[in-house]
C-alpha cells in the first residue's frame, strides 16, 4: 500500500488515538497483540523494530525468548533473554523447547494467592518465519511434520505474545506435490497474514521519502531493491540507513517507517503509518510518531503560522507584493480617522454628528445623540 497523503482533517484524531495504540502495542502494555507478524525485505530489515520491542520488553520485565534460525549473534546485553537455536530442529521438538522456556506455569502453591504474583508475560521472537515455514507441512517439510497453523496455535496462551519476521522477497522453494498435500491450501505467507493479529510492514525512510517527493511532483515514484531495474543490484542505496539529521550513521539506522494493521477482537482493524525515530522526540519523549508528523515526509508540519506569511514565495509573479522600507515608514505615518477616537480622552472623531431636521419626529424621551 502506498504511504498516505497528508490529511489535515483526520491527523489530530489519529495523533491521539492511533499513536496511543501504536505505542501500547510496541511497549506490550495492557493486552498485547498475541501474534505480531513483521514483513520485511532487503530494503529495510525488521531488526531495529525488533530491538525496540526487546528494549521496551526489558523495561517491562518481560521474559524474552529469541528463536534464532538465521541470527548467529543474537543480542547479548539482555539479561532476561533466552536464545533457542532452532535450525534443523523439527517443529514439534521446537515447540516443546519454546514451551519449556516460557514462564507460563504458575506453581501450585502460588495459585492459591493469585493477587500477589501476577503472571509473567512472555515475548517469543522468531527471526525468520521463512525457515519455520520451510520445515512445516505446508511448506513442504519432512513427512509428518507439524502444520504451521497447529504450531502457532499451540504456542498461543494469554501470557505469550509472538513477534515473528517474514522476509517477503525470499522465494519459497516448492517441493513436488505429495499425495497428501492439499492443492487448494493457501500459500503459507497468506496463511500467516490471515492468522496474525497485528501486521507490520517495514520500509526504509529514505526510500519512502524519495517516493513521496516524486509523487508530490506527480512523477512516477522510484523503485528500490530488487525492483530497481538495475542488472545485478539486489539492494539499493538507502537500504537500512534510517533517517536523522543529527545522529551518527550508527544511531541513525535505528529509524524506520512501518505500516501497522491492528485487528481488534471486535474485528475492526486500524491501519496507520508510523515513523520510529532513532532518538526520543524532545516534545513528547517518545520515539514513535505518525509518519505525517515527520518534517521530512510532511514539510508543512514544521512551518509555524507566523512564519508562513514571512517567506511568501512570489518568485513566479510579475509584480512585487512586498513593501520597501520607505513604503513601510510612509504607511505607518498615515493618520486615519478612527485613530482619534481611540485616544485616551475619547477625542472628537468618534461621535456621530447629526443635526435633526424638520422632518424628523424627535422624541426627547427616546432619542438621544
Amino acid at each position: 500500500m502506498a504511504p498516505p497523503k497528508a490529511n489535515e482533517k483526520t491527523v489530530q484524531y489519529r495523533r491521539t488515538h492511533n499513536l496511543l495504540l501504536g505505542t501500547r502495542l510496541l511497549s506490550q502494555r495492557g493486552t498485547p497483540s498475541p501474534f505480531t507478524l513483521i514483513l520485511d525485505s532487503l530494503s529495510q530489515s525488521s531488526i531495529p523494530l525488533v530491538e525496540e520491542y526487546i528494549a521496551r520488553a526489558k523495561t517491562a520485565r518481560v521474559n524474552i525468548v529469541y528463536v534464532s534460525f538465521t541470527t548467529p549473534r543474537p543480542p547479548k546485553d539482555v539479561s532476561r533473554l533466552k536464545v533457542i537455536r532452532a535450525r534443523g530442529k523439527p517443529l514439534d521438538a521446537l515447540q516443546k523447547e519454546i514451551m519449556a522456556t516460557t514462564e507460563t506455569v504458575v506453581p501450585v502453591e502460588k495459585q492459591a494467592e493469585p493477587a500477589s504474583t501476577p503472571q509473567t508475560q512472555n515475548l517469543v521472537i522468531i527471526d525468520s518465519m521463512n525457515h519455520l515455514v520451510a520445515s512445516s507441512s505446508e511448506g513442504g517439510g519432512q513427512k509428518n511434520s507439524m502444520s504451521l497453523a497447529f504450531f502457532l496455535s499451540s504456542l498461543l496462551a494469554p501470557s505469550i505474545s509472538l513477534l515473528a519476521t517474514y522476509h517477503v522477497d525470499i522465494p519459497r522453494v516448492s517441493q513436488p506435490p505429495t499425495a497428501n498435500a492439499n492443492a487448494y491450501a493457501p500459500d503459507p505467507a497468506d496463511l500467516l497474514k490471515y492468522l496474525c493479529t497485528t501486521l507490520i510492514t517495514v520500509h526504509s525512510p529514505s526510500h519512502i521519502f524519495a517516493q513521496k517527493r516524486a509523487l508530490d511532483k506527480s512523477l512516477p515514484p522510484p523503485r528500490f531493491g530488487l525492483e530497481e531495474g538495475i542488472e545485478g543490484a539486489i539492494a539499493s542505496l538507502g537500504t537500512n540507513t534510517g533517517w536523522c539529521d543529527t545522529c551518527t550513521a550508527k544511531e541513525r539506522s535505528r529509524g524506520l517507517i512501518y505500516e501497522l494493521e491492528h485487528r481488534r477482537m471486535s474485528g475492526r482493524a486500524m491501519t496507520e503509518w508510523f515513523f520510529l525515530m532513532c532518538h526520543p522526540s524532545k516534545k513528547t519523549k517518545e520515539k514513535l510518531i505518525l509518519l505525517e508528523d515527520h518534517p521530512a515526509y510532511n514539510p508543512a508540519i514544521t512551518v509555524p503560522a507566523a512564519e508562513s506569511t514571512e517567506g511568501l514565495d512570489d518568485s513566479d509573479l510579475t509584480f512585487s507584493l512586498g513593501l520597501t522600507a520607505k513604503q513601510k515608514v510612509d504607511r505607518d505615518g498615515v493618520v486615519l480617522p478612527y485613530f482619534d477616537a481611540q485616544s485616551e480622552d475619547g477625542g472628537t472623531g468618534g461621535r456621530i454628528l447629526y443635526v435633526p431636521g424638520r422632518e424628523d419626529d424627535w422624541d426627547d424621551e427616546e432619542d438621544e445623540i
Binding site: 531488526i47 548467529p72 534443523g88 545485478g232 543490484a233 539486489i234 539492494a235 550508527k250
Partner: protein
C-alpha cells in the same frame, strides 16, 4: 622482487578502502560479507583483496579459500599479477585451498594428498546433472606440495559422492585445521550455486552448512581470558567459553534472471534466488559488482555498490558501521583502482 611486490600490492584496494575505515571494527564473530556479481564482471580481485588483507593485517589467522569454479592454479596466476604469492602461503600453512571443481564428481580418495584418482567416475555415484562419463577426466596440473607432514594439507578436494551435503564437511575440517593464533579464521567461498545446480544438493542443506560454518568451534582456545591485539585498533577479548567463529565471504552471481522469480519458475531458479536472498538477509554488508549502466567505457570496468546488511544492524557494543557507497572501479594489469563517480579516475 620485494620492491615490485610492494608496489603491486599497494594497487589492490583494501577492504577498508572498499567498505570504509570501520571495516576493521566490524564484529569479528560470524561476520558475513556477500559479494555479488553479474556476467561480465570478475570478482577475483575482491578475493585477492580479502586474501591480501588477511595476510598483511597480522595476527596469524588462517584463510580457507573454497572455489567451485576455479582451480588453485587460477588463483596462483591471478594473485601473482596482484603481487600476492599464494603458493608460498599454501606452503606456509596459513592458507588452505579447497578445490570444489577438479574432483567434484570423482570418488573421494581417502587421503586427500597429491595422488590423483586414475579411475573414471563410476556411473553409480554420478548425481543428476553431472557430466556424462565418457572419458576419464585427467587430473589437472598439480601444484607441487612442499609442506612438511605436520602442516595441514594445503589443498583439499570436495567430492560429492553418496555423502551428498555431508561431503561439504571437508571445508569445515579445513577451517578447524587452521593454525589458530587467536584470530578468527576467514573463509572465502566462491560458486556455491554450482553445488546446488550441478550436484543437486538441496538449498536448505547448503544454508544449514553455511550457518554451521559461521559457528565452527576451534578447539585450541586458551583456558584463561586473554587479550589479543590483532590490529592496532582491534583489541579482542576471548573468553574461555566463547566460540571463535569464522568470518565468511560468499561470492555469488546476482544477475536478474537469477534473482527475479515468478511462481512458474523452475525449482533451480527458486533455489538460487532463495539462497542468494537468504544470505543477503543475514549479511553484514553486500558488495555488488555490476557493469556500467550507460554502456562500456575504456577506463571503467564496472560499478561497485556497498550496502549495509541486516547483520550490521544489531546494537553490538562498539561494532563498526558499513558505509553505503557507490564507486567505480577499473581493473587493469597494473592493479585495481576504485574511485568516485566523476573523478575520472585520474
Amino acid at each position: 622482487m620485494g620492491h615490485t611486490l610492494r608496489i603491486a600490492m599497494s594497487r589492490l584496494p583494501t577492504p577498508n578502502g572498499i567498505l570504509g575505515p570501520s571495516y576493521s571494527l566490524l564484529p569479528l564473530e560470524s561476520q558475513l560479507l556477500l559479494v555479488t556479481s553479474v556476467l561480465g564482471t570478475s570478482t577475483s580481485w575482491v578475493v585477492y583483496s580479502l586474501l591480501n588483507d588477511a595476510f598483511t593485517s597480522g595476527g596469524g589467522g588462517g584463510v580457507v579459500l573454497v572455489s567451485f569454479l576455479n582451480e588453485v592454479s587460477y588463483f596462483c596466476d591471478g594473485g601473482k599479477r596482484h603481487g600476492l604469492d599464494i603458493q608460498s602461503h599454501l606452503n606456509k600453512g596459513d592458507l588452505i585451498f579447497v578445490d570444489g571443481l577438479s574432483r567434484l564428481f570423482l570418488e573421494a580418495s581417502n587421503s586427500s594428498r597429491a595422488t590423483p584418482p586414475r579411475m573414471p567416475p563410476s556411473a553409480g555415484i554420478t548425481p543428476r546433472g553431472a557430466i556424462p562419463t565418457r572419458t576419464p577426466i585427467s587430473p589437472r596440473q598439480q601444484v607441487p606440495s612442499t609442506s612438511s607432514s605436520n602442516l595441514p594439507d594445503p589443498i583439499r578436494y570436495v567430492s560429492i559422492g553418496a555423502a551428498g551435503a555431508k561431503s561439504l564437511n571437508v571445508i569445515k575440517a579445513a577451517v578447524q585445521s587452521l593454525p589458530t593464533g587467536g584470530t578468527r579464521p576467514r573463509v572465502i567461498i566462491e560458486g556455491l550455486d554450482v553445488v546446488m545446480a550441478a550436484a543437486g544438493i538441496d538449498v536448505a542443506a547448503i544454508e544449514d552448512f553455511l550457518y554451521e560454518l559461521r559457528e565452527v568451534r576451534i578447539h585450541t582456545i586458551p583456558p584463561t581470558p586473554l587479550y589479543y591485539t590483532v590490529h592496532h585498533e582491534r583489541p579482542m577479548l576471548i573468553k574461555a567459553n566463547e566460540q571463535i567463529t569464522s568470518t565468511m565471504a560468499v561470492i555469488s552471481p546476482s544477475d536478474s534472471t537469477l534473482t527475479h522469480t515468478s511462481p512458474s519458475s523452475t525449482p533451480l531458479e527458486l533455489s538460487h534466488a532463495n539462497l542468494l536472498l537468504s544470505l543477503s538477509h543475514t549479511a553484514d554488508a553486500i558488495l555488488s559488482l555490476r557493469l556500467l549502466d550507460t554502456g562500456v567505457a575504456k577506463d571503467i570496468s564496472g560499478v561497485l555498490r556497498v550496502t549495509r546488511g541486516a547483520g550490521n544492524l544489531w546494537r553490538d557494543g562498539n561494532a563498526g558501521v558499513v558505509e553505503e557507497k557507490e564507486l567505480l572501479y577499473h581493473e587493469a594489469d597494473a592493479g585495481v583502482r576504485i574511485f568516485a563517480r566523476g573523478s575520472g579516475g585520474h
